[in-house]
Subunit: 92 residues, 2 copies
DNA sequence: TAGACATTTAGAAAATTATCTAACTATCTA
DNA sequence: TAGATAGTTAGATAATTTTCTAAATGTCTA
């Protein structure tokens, strides 16, 4: 929802690894969980934070819930980072 | 030092506000602290995390310690964000 | 060199976050 | 509709992070 949620979501290495997985292909919650030693509820919790941050989208397909990247927020993030490169105060 | 330190450092709103201040001009620790209601030691702690993440540089000038942005790491961050926009899996 | 100023370090308390197990909800299929 | 599978929710505990006050360090100047 907010930029703060985005940064909070990105601050955990497990969640960044999840995003790396989704970069390759959309995956179900279970497929994602299989890539970690962590319990399914913990992964579910991480997915929820990513979802609240709008970094991922979820869609139910029968029993499975498929997760995918939401590139929109990455573009907002890009804008934020760009503020610190190039623009701003005069350079010598 | 690591990407993880970078994201951890960026996950706190106070630290992001500090970066916003430094975007405008280099500032001493005290000047920075004056922009917050928080105690000086707390600000000092935040500055230390930003420094460990190499998002800022510090340099002593007499009694003052001047902080400035280190744009290098922002460029690394940009590369990370770019992975999630454009490249990657095929799109429909 | 004593005192003032700027900043950090130390150590503790409070708040937040990550993780687990157990239980629940939703969907499919025989 | 019973049982199996996929996933989430609830509630507790452990770990991490934020913040504070008190004390220490470093530097300047009278």
């Amino acid at each position: 929802m907010s930029l703060n949620d985005t940064f909070k979501a990105l601050s955990d290495p497990t969640r960044r690894r999840i995003l790396d997985l989704l970069k390759e292909r959309d995956m179900s919650a279970g497929d994602i969980a299989d890539h970690f030693q962590m319990s399914k509820p913990s992964i579910s919790h991480h997915l929820n934070l990513l979802k609240q941050a709008e970094l991922v989208l979820d869609e139910r397909h029968g029993q499975h819930i498929m997760y995918s990247l939401n590139t929109t927020v990455f573009q907002e993030l890009m804008k934020w980072v760009l503020q610190f490169n190039g623009e701003g105060k005069d350079r010598q």
